[in-house]
């Protein structure tokens, strides 16, 4: 009970900052809109490439935007811990008997809440733009779920990097470095059968692509349940592994003091 309560209290701390900061709140909400409209306009011609069979371009692109935004939002999670380290909050917290996992999990849950909020906005906008989501409500919920899982994994990774490096610059560098390759080495913006073979091979090991395959299959295509199941399983394992890594990072930080 106590670990869960502590996790939730850490989450609430993030939520309060979010609600108190109108500029931050506004940007979080506008960002999904801009991404969908921009990428939508940019890649509209994708549907005219011979061999493309992804249906309407909004249907094809929406899961891609959802997943990209999840990775990008989650990537910044570690910033909070870096600030805590520099502000003295971290040391005071680590002197307390708080469950170390809560320090990671609390901010991961917060990141996931933000991702779900942004995803719902994208989905609403996509519907307005004429997406028809053949997977129905259930399929769309699976898309939300994979975005949440992928976000949770990257939020933990971001926390681990933040606590170990303790430098804002390192985390900014890591997020910038990772985001575009992971997106381009997946089917986020382009149908897999139309990309070079080596990218297809690399994508097999790319968690972003696991999320995309599961989300797209469930929400907008004829759902392949075994594909959705295995990808969801892989993502769950990844979430747990990243959370364990981030929780251990606090111990490494403490040993360096």
């Amino acid at each position: 009970m106590t670990p869960l309560k502590q996790t939730w209290q850490v989450t609430l701390r993030g939520v309060r900052v979010f609600l108190r900061n109108p500029a931050y709140l506004l940007m979080t909400l506008i960002q999904p809109v801009i991404w969908l409209l921009l990428f939508g306009a940019l890649f509209k011609a994708v549907t005219r490439i011979p061999g493309f069979h992804g249906g309407s371009y909004v249907d094809f692109l929406t899961p891609g935007i959802v997943v990209m935004l999840a990775v990008s939002s989650a990537g910044w999670t570690g910033m909070g811990l870096i600030e805590d380290i520099h502000g003295g909050v971290m040391d005071r917290t680590l002197v307390s008997p708080v469950w170390r996992g809560a320090l990671n999990a609390g901010s991961v849950v917060y990141a996931v809440l933000m991702i779900v909020l942004q995803t719902l906005l994208i989905l609403a906008l996509a519907l307005a733009l004429g997406a028809d989501f053949r997977g129905g409500v259930g399929g769309v919920l699976i898309l939300v779920l994979v975005a949440a899982l992928l976000g949770a994994a990257f939020a933990s990774l971001s926390n681990a990097v933040g606590v170990l490096a303790r430098q804002r610059e390192t985390l900014i560098g890591a997020v910038t470095f990772v985001l575009l390759p992971l997106t381009f080495l997946s089917s986020a913006l382009m149908q897999q059968s139309l990309v070079p073979g080596w990218i297809r091979t690399v994508a097999k090991f790319n968690p972003v692509d696991w999320a995309l395959q599961a989300g797209r299959s469930a929400a907008v295509e004829k759902t392949d349940w075994s594909l959705v199941g295995t990808r969801l399983g892989l993502l769950v394992v990844l979430v747990l592994a990243c959370a364990a890594l981030a929780t251990r990072a606090f111990g490494v930080y403490q040993r360096s003091l």
Binding site: Q9, G87, G88, D91, S96, P97, V98, Q254
Partner: protein, 324 residues
């Protein structure tokens, strides 16, 4: 009496070859204020980090409130309150939210937690500011909130790492009163680190002087100062009667090092209070009239000079050179 803190031969090195603690040992009796005095870089904060389970020493042993902090850090944490050198509160949250989160971390919840938070805000004079963001607090208020957070779970031992550094004189005096009140009203042991000699002198009943990672001397402030061959007696004279005054004091066995500085006479005595009647009698016999007598105890500055082999401000300056 029982020991609240017991540290034995603590060694801590940082790469590449900084020896922050060099077999540091100290013991603190329960219910007292213990001062760890030393210049910047002497190892005070490292000692606190080790004793509060934040950091592990390379070797050595440490017990706080009867719990071995190395073998059972989780157990020790409930008994320990810590106020770090840096501000420990979240500037983006209110005072009440900070205290509440702190309580949750210690497993306090519900009505009990709400009551404790409200009491503690009241007690530290933060009730009016309870629902304002900490970012808007003055330095003194932030420091009071830090102490309130360190005490919320009612620890048996409280560590205060340089509690008044960076505070203006008024806030500093307020913090001193608060620390004295804590020691008086609660059955709590306080270890405070400071590089202010006057702070250690005023607050601590026991003192350890730390230099280069080890305790160079430990005792009560009075003991440490009386080790320095007694006191300084200062006698104000009505007129400057140099020769007569000197003649008078030459006959008093209890004193030495007589200096006359205008109309102020200085002399050293092993037991100043005991020597004063003899001094006054001898002056009187020579027809010299004294207008005032003061007894000055040696300052901790002199104690530090003697045990660390260099003056306090000099040690601070050396550290800053190394750091720069």
């Amino acid at each position: 009496m029982t020991l609240a803190i017991e540290a034995t031969e603590l060694v801590k090195t940082y790469p590449p070859d900084v020896r922050a603690l060099d077999r540091l040992s100290l013991s603190v009796q329960a219910g007292t204020i213990f001062g760890l005095l030393g210049p910047n870089g002497a190892g005070k904060s490292t000692t606190v980090r080790v004793l509060t389970t934040l950091s592990r020493p390379d070797s050595g042993r440490a017990r706080v409130a009867g719990v071995d902090v190395l073998a059972d850090p989780a157990g020790a944490r409930h008994a320990i309150g810590a106020v770090g050198q840096k501000q420990g509160s979240d500037p983006g949250a209110t005072g009440r939210e900070n205290l509440t989160l702190q309580g949750e971390f210690y497993g306090i919840a519900g009505r009990e937690l709400r009551t404790r938070v409200a009491d503690s805000l009241e007690r530290f004079g933060l009730a009016d500011a309870a629902d304002r963001l900490v970012r808007t607090y003055s330095g003194g208020m932030q420091r009071r909130l830090d102490v309130a957070m360190g005490l919320l779970h009612r620890p048996r031992v409280l560590f205060l790492d340089e509690p008044t550094t960076g505070l203006d004189p008024e806030a500093r005096a307020g913090m001193w009163r608060e620390i004295e009140r804590l020691a008086r009203e609660q059955q709590i042991t306080i270890l405070l680190t400071t590089h202010y000699l006057d702070e250690a002198d005023r607050l601590a009943s026991q003192l350890a002087i730390v230099d280069r990672g080890r305790v160079v001397v430990q005792g009560t402030p009075e003991q440490l100062k009386s080790d320095l061959q007694g006191d300084t007696i200062q006698v104000g004279l009505r007129d400057s009667q140099d020769a007569a005054a000197r003649r008078a004091l030459a006959r008093v066995d209890e004193i030495g090092d007589v200096r006359l500085d205008g109309r102020m006479l200085h002399a050293r005595a092993r037991d100043g209070a005991g020597a004063i009647p003899a001094v006054l009698a001898a002056l009187d016999a020579q027809g010299v009239t004294a207008t005032s007598v003061t007894l000055a105890r040696p300052s901790l500055d002199e104690v530090y000079l003697r045990h660390a082999g260099r003056a306090f401000h000099q040690a601070n300056a050396e550290h800053e050179e190394v750091a720069a």
